[in-house]
């Protein structure tokens, strides 16, 4: 059971991490109609985002081994980032809900 | 002109450097297969840097000089290792 759900869960975690990262960027905030953040607020969002991404890498390496873990991390991060970009492009309303709960 | 110089000259220079790198590391006590493997990985990076350098630099005489030097070093090491063994 864990085997089947492991990768989707990691992918979801990466997605959330990248989402936090995107929502800390002025360009993306302007596009979805949010005010810019102060440098301190940006750091507050970027630290956990970086933590999630690094944590996922460690988790993957621990679970899948060094070679597979790294390659899977690279592949999944690309896929998750693509998902974030497409969501920002076509469903910005999704983010207003998401970012309100963060800000 | 610049393109031909970058692709051709860069190739010869990288190739020469690769040859002398392998010779020198074997002389320094490295295993032959490992010297070639390491050199193979490095030579592509070197070639890439050389190509970009040719396109980035204003005057061509500097890369031209360096390339000739690298090719010459490649030939000299090849000559010495050839006569030594």
């Amino acid at each position: 059971m864990i085997d089947v759900l492991f990768l989707p869960m990691v992918a979801l975690a990466l997605f959330i991490g990248l989402l936090l990262l995107a929502l800390s960027q002025d360009t993306q905030r302007r596009r979805i109609g949010h005010v810019s953040l102060s440098p301190r607020e940006k750091a507050q969002r970027r630290m956990p985002a970086a933590g999630i991404l690094a944590g996922c890498l460690l988790l993957l390496i621990w679970y899948e081994g060094g070679g597979f873990g790294t390659l899977l991390w690279i592949g999944l991060i690309s896929a998750a980032a693509l998902a974030v970009s497409l969501l920002l492009a076509w469903r910005p309303s999704f983010f207003s809900i998401g970012s309100r709960s963060f800000s | 002109m610049r393109t031909a110089f970058a692709v051709g000259g860069g190739y010869l220079a990288a190739s020469g450097a690769f040859g002398s790198f392998c010779t020198l590391s074997v002389v320094a006590g490295m295993r032959r297969s490992e010297a070639v493997a390491l050199g193979t990985m490095l030579v592509f990076v070197l070639y890439l840097i050389l190509i970009l350098w040719v396109f980035a630099v204003g005057a061509l005489w500097r890369p031209c000089f360096v390339f000739m030097l690298m090719i010459a070093v490649g030939y000299i090491t090849a000559f010495y290792s050839g006569s030594g063994s």
Partner: protein, 504 residues
């Protein structure tokens, strides 16, 4: 200096992309398909669609084939067991300069009928690294270096990589949107583009840069197997020696390795005193590409030599090789490779489209523009259509057909090249309309391939989905349907936009 540097990199990016983009698209497209080469083989060779047998196979069951090989004075005879991706047992031998390849049904031990096709592993995969012509590897190598140059110069001219990391704006003007797509595909896939290009170059490193090997190995034979210490004397004396049991050797190999069973056994110079048996294990549970070799003496079956464990540098090189060849068994990762490969194709294609779009208004009728448009059409949608035509021809041509001296496998390849050439011509003859028409053609061919697979093999999608051993076929059909759908959608939206601009 700073803006100058950026300008020169921009110039380099444009021209390198324009000149070698077509070759790069061909390489990346064929490479992406090669990720699933065995699965495509199963689709193209219906006779090999079989349940993989569970019972342990005996190598000695193929003794008669080995004896036949020694009668023919083969220089080697090799047997490869089926694995998870390939249900068929393969026997390969070389007699003189000719290679013979037999696909064998592992449960009956009988030869399968000639599939009459090169399949993906015989056509698409070699196309990926050699473009299937002499010295093609050199063009691939040049394109590979160009890809690295394009990656670096692309980063330099892009500037705001992190600010625009997630920026994709489909609502903007087409030019802006194409550039966004090019950037997103380029930046998000950057580790993939660089890792795969670099490792591909390193695999062929000895071909592209022979100077290193020449410098340290004056005599090639002396060097090639330095670490294994196998001497393969030339087969001079013809002396039939009795063969030890191959199964016994397999058991011995297993006891050396622990639990793994040999994947393949190669007998060099069978039937002569110079014969050697090499047993290979392929560890599919690690990225490092390691064909662990054991060498046995065929007369009494004692172990002659074993490959020593890899040291760090060799291990790094084997890791790069393994990362590129994807011989390992990891389905999620395989799919990620496929998706990333498609991403690379999208990046190259949008690079072309952006160039065309930026110049269409000003120089749409100029000769140079039309030349590039035809080139781009042939190398992007054209090769996709040609590949699909290859699949369609595979399902349309009856087995054993022969035309003008070419057998079925060659005819399929001719279909590929003929259609590919036609797409270039089409691009030059019908500017503007070419994209709409070729998108619709892609859709048509993809649907046609699925339909033909259903009609000619009676393996329709609902059946292949239910049976585990037919999943590769189901996967291919599904992807063809999806791709065909996307192509139809693209073609029709392009046509709609063309109509709207015509009325304006």
């Amino acid at each position: 200096m700073e803006p100058d540097f950026r300008r020169s990199m921009g110039w380099l990016h444009t021209w390198a992309g324009l000149v070698l983009g077509g070759v790069l698209f061909a390489i990346f497209w064929m490479g992406t398909l090669s990720v699933f080469d065995k699965e495509i083989d199963l689709w193209m060779k219906p006779a090999t669609r079989m349940v993989s047998s569970d019972h342990a196979l005996s190598f000695d069951a193929f003794r008669s084939s080995l004896e036949e090989a020694s009668r023919l004075k083969a220089s080697f005879w090799a047997i490869t067991l089926p694995n998870e991706r390939d249900p068929v047992l393969h026997i390969r031998l070389r007699v003189g300069a000719r290679f013979h390849n037999h696909d064998v049904n592992p449960s009956t031990g009988r030869d399968l009928p000639d599939p009459g096709t090169l399949g993906a592993s015989g056509f698409i995969y070699p196309f990926h690294y050699s473009l299937r012509f002499r010295l093609g590897e050199w063009l691939v190598g040049l394109a590979g270096m160009a890809m690295l140059v394009l990656c670096v110069s692309g980063i330099v001219i892009h500037r705001k990589i992190f600010v625009d990391f997630f920026t994709f704006r489909p609502e903007k003007k087409p030019g802006r949107m194409l550039l966004d797509l090019h950037n997103v595909a380029g930046v998000l896939g950057l580790p993939f583009h660089i890792a795969l290009t670099f490792s591909g170059l390193v695999i062929f490193g000895a071909v592209y840069f022979p100077s290193g090997t020449h410098a340290v190995c004056p005599h090639e034979r002396a060097c090639s197997d330095e670490d294994i210490k196998v001497s393969l004397p030339t087969p001079s004396e013809k002396l039939v020696v009795p063969f030890t049991s191959l199964d016994e050797i397999a058991v011995k190999a297993r006891s050396v390795w622990g639990h793994d069973f040999p994947e393949s056994i190669i007998v060099f110079n069978p039937g002569t005193s110079a014969s050697r048996i090499r047993v290979l294990r392929s560890d599919r549970n690690q990225v490092v590409f390691l064909a662990d070799k054991l060498v046995f003496d065929p007369t009494d079956g004692h172990l002659l030599s074993r490959q020593p464990p890899l040291r760090p540098i060799a291990r790094t090189e084997r890791f790069l090789t393994g990362l590129h060849l994807i011989r390992f068994q990891n389905w999620p990762l395989r799919w990620l490779y496929f998706a990333s490969g498609l991403g690379s194709c999208v990046m190259i294609a949008t690079g072309f489209f952006f160039w065309l779009n930026a110049r269409r208004r000003k120089q749409g009728v100029a000769f140079g523009f039309r030349l590039v448009e035809g080139m781009a059409a042939g190398s992007v949608t054209g090769i996709v259509i040609a590949t699909l035509a290859f699949f369609v021809a595979n399902r349309l041509l009856p087995l054993g057909v022969n035309f003008a001296g070419y057998d079925r496998a060659a005819l399929e390849v001719w279909a590929f090249y003929f259609v590919w050439l036609a797409t270039f011509a089409h691009g030059w003859l019908r500017p503007r309309r070419v994209w709409i028409e070729q998108s619709l053609t892609v859709g048509g061919f993809a649907l046609g391939a699925v339909l033909l697979n259903w009609l000619t093999t009676s393996d329709p999608l609902w059946r292949t989905f239910l049976l585990r051993y037919l999943w590769p076929v189901a996967g291919m059909d599904t992807l063809l349907l999806l791709g065909g759908g996307v192509a139809f959608w693209t073609g029709s939206s392009l046509a709609r936009r063309a109509r709207e601009t015509a009325y304006d």
